[in-house]
């Protein structure tokens, strides 16, 4: 496959994953910058996000992600991107890094907000990636502008989760605004908020293209603010006075945790956290200066610290809103050893709307909880009961998309990403409605050049993916732990085999990539001498790292 030359002045954008025909996730974008003033050949490039794709499990993969072949290089080799910029800490934006490093690739310096960087390190630690393989981290502050690969990149706060940032990428030739995931909600309690005045100023200064989140673009309902959700949660807890209350959220929903903390405080209950991902995220946030306790107005307690408190004087917040098997609610519903106690007077609140991939699992979990006597208030039931919404998508709905385009007013193009065909089409329709030309891509790989004379597709190079399948036949263990709470007798580190897939997710070569032996094995004394990864290059293989 012929490579696509990126040798004319301008900014080049390519969606490597993010415009998938088979579902959202795995976000990874390539930006090339060709200026007229760089001493090192006038060309530089970087990546934005490197995530895993949702729903790969239905094909037997634990994760799918953009192939690093032709993008990244091995330690000691030249070339490769100058940086990896992360917009936020969700798995679909950074979850591939834990796979790339054991595959023997070198990750370039990572630019991210502090919370995102800490969550990346958490991901690498959980995967057992040795520290000498971790990428260099360069912390970016909101509002900061950094010179990267010949572009001035500004980090612009967006409303989505703590640390969420958009990227304003500007060169002497063009400018692009990459939203990352976003919505507009000035009542989110943690971190800096998206500032419409900042966005308007960027637009007024002259912006050529917007690459924007499409996930909730088809949603026409007016969005609910986190403050309204907090009020509804407070009423639910009040109406369950004298009963144990357990709330289930997702581990990364720290703003929702604050809302529940405020509901606990308003109802004279202690706030207790349970569930590893939630506790870990909260611990990372607290250590990084995102003060959840201050925002909630109440201490964050561990179950052990609250063990002496009456159950009706506690609000337990745990994981399991998507019915994950290992989550707090999942374990409680099955009455597993060490799980949270469910009694006939327990009220369980699930402050997260169901989504199609987890609908059956969540319904089964709710049925198990109810079979044990619990009263379960789901997000759907809370509305029906008159409490109002207790969940809002973290992504921009129709109103938010219109506002974004109205503020930024890109001169040349809007490129919807992070969506299936229907979501991208809806986002494109909203851009057109405010007079912005649209490039609606339902596949990855198109290379768009943005330059003073316009924005246009200069070619299409369909990228490949990697499918990561967990090797259940390999058990890798750290030393045995003491029995503890009976649920962590060891810490198995997952081991994966990797298949090469085409952009539609079909297998091109099974086990086409192999993990460097021992690359993820903890305590290996000579990891730096681990054998080189066996990589089979395709014709499209090495184009990216050395292209001009």
């Amino acid at each position: 496959m012929a490579s696509i030359e990126r040798d004319q002045p301008g900014i080049y954008w390519q969606s490597l994953m993010g415009n998938n025909g088979d579902g959202i996730g795995g976000n990874c974008h390539r930006y090339d910058v060709v200026t007229g003033a760089r001493p090192d050949g006038q060309h530089g490039w970087f990546l934005v996000d490197y995530g895993v794709k949702f729903g790969a499990g239905r094909k037997g993969y634990a994760a799918e992600f953009a192939s690093p072949e032709g993008l990244l290089v091995h330690p000691g080799e030249g070339g490769g991107p100058e940086a990896l910029l992360l917009t936020h800490a969700h798995e679909d934006h950074l979850g591939a890094v834990r796979h790339l490093l054991p595959l023997g690739y070198r990750c370039p310096p990572v630019y991210a907000r502090a919370f995102t960087a800490a969550m990346l390190n958490k991901s690498l630690a959980d995967a057992g990636v040795e520290k000498n393989r971790w990428p260099e981290i360069r912390i970016a502050r909101t509002g900061e502008t950094v010179e990267i690969a010949g572009a001035r990149v500004s980090f612009v706060a967006m409303d989505h989760m703590p640390g969420a940032t958009a990227l304003h990428i500007a060169s002497d030739q063009a400018s692009v605004f990459h939203t990352g995931d976003y919505r507009f909600d000035a009542t989110l309690p943690l971190g800096p908020r998206a500032d419409p005045a900042v966005l308007r100023a960027i637009g007024q200064a002259g912006l050529d293209m917007v690459v924007s989140d499409s996930t909730a673009a088809p949603v026409t309902d007016a969005p609910v603010t986190e403050a309204e959700i907090a009020h509804a949660l407070e009423r639910i807890v009040a109406d369950n006075a004298g009963r144990p209350v357990i709330a289930g959220i997702l581990g990364s929903q720290l703003d929702r945790l604050v809302s529940l903390g405020r509901a606990a405080k308003a109802n004279d209950r202690a706030l207790v956290l349970s569930g590893r991902s939630l506790v870990a995220n909260a611990a990372v946030a607290q250590a990084g200066g995102i003060d959840i306790e201050a925002a909630a107005g109440t201490p964050l307690l561990t179950p052990r610290q609250a063990a002496e408190l009456p159950a009706e004087k506690v609000l337990v917040v745990t994981t399991g809103a998507f019915a994950q098997p290992n989550s707090g609610l999942g374990r409680a519903s099955r009455n597993q050893p060490g799980a949270l106690s469910i009694t006939p007077d327990t009220t369980v609140v699930i402050a997260q709307r169901e989504i199609p991939p987890v609908r059956e699992a969540q319904a089964a979990m709710v049925a198990r909880l109810e079979a044990r006597g619990a009263t379960v208030v789901t997000a759907e039931r809370a509305v029906a009961a008159g409490y109002g919404p207790i969940h809002q998508s973290g992504h921009a709905v129709e109103r938010d998309c219109r506002l974004l385009y109205t503020l930024l007013r890109p001169r040349m193009l809007a490129a919807p990403v992070h969506g299936n065909a229907a979501q991208i089409t809806a986002n494109g329709r909203l851009a057109r409605s405010v007079g912005v030309p649209v490039l609606a891509l339902d596949r990855n790989g198109a290379v768009v050049r943005v330059a003073p004379d316009g924005a246009r597709v200069i070619g299409v190079q369909p990228p490949e993916r990697i499918g990561a399948r967990e090797r259940t036949d390999v058990v890798r263990q750290l030393p045995k732990a003491s029995p503890g709470q009976g649920r962590d007798s060891h810490f198995p580190v997952p081991v994966f085999s990797y298949d090469r897939l085409d952009d539609a997710g079909a297998v091109v070569l099974r086990s086409g990539l192999e993990t460097a032996q021992g690359a993820t094995r903890p305590k290996r004394p000579d990891a730096s001498a681990a054998p080189r990864v066996a990589v089979h290059h395709t014709a499209a293989g090495r184009e990216g790292s050395r292209s001009r």
């Binding site: 052990r304 989504i355 987890v358």
Partner: protein
């Protein structure tokens, strides 16, 4: 044990400080708790931020059990 034995330190912290608050413990407090553990080797080299975070998260993991992150969180 030393600062690089994250998982072992996590389990040791859980067992030595069952009522410790692994959610809100400060960096300074965490260093004090680790260096007071029996079996922790004396070292003059303080941990870097990433190492300290790894130990903090190992304590969380030891206390809370297996990872329960949903792959669908980013689409919520």
């Amino acid at each position: 044990m030393d600062w690089n034995d994250g998982h072992a330190l996590g389990r040791a912290l859980r067992d030595a400080y069952p009522s410790g608050n692994y959610v809100t413990v400060s960096d300074a407090e965490l260093i004090d708790l680790v260096t007071a553990l029996p079996g922790f080797g004396k070292t003059a080299v303080p941990p870097d931020a990433a190492t300290l975070m790894a130990v903090r998260l190992a304590w969380v993991a030891a206390a809370e059990g297996e990872d329960d992150t949903s792959p669908y969180e980013g689409g919520a």
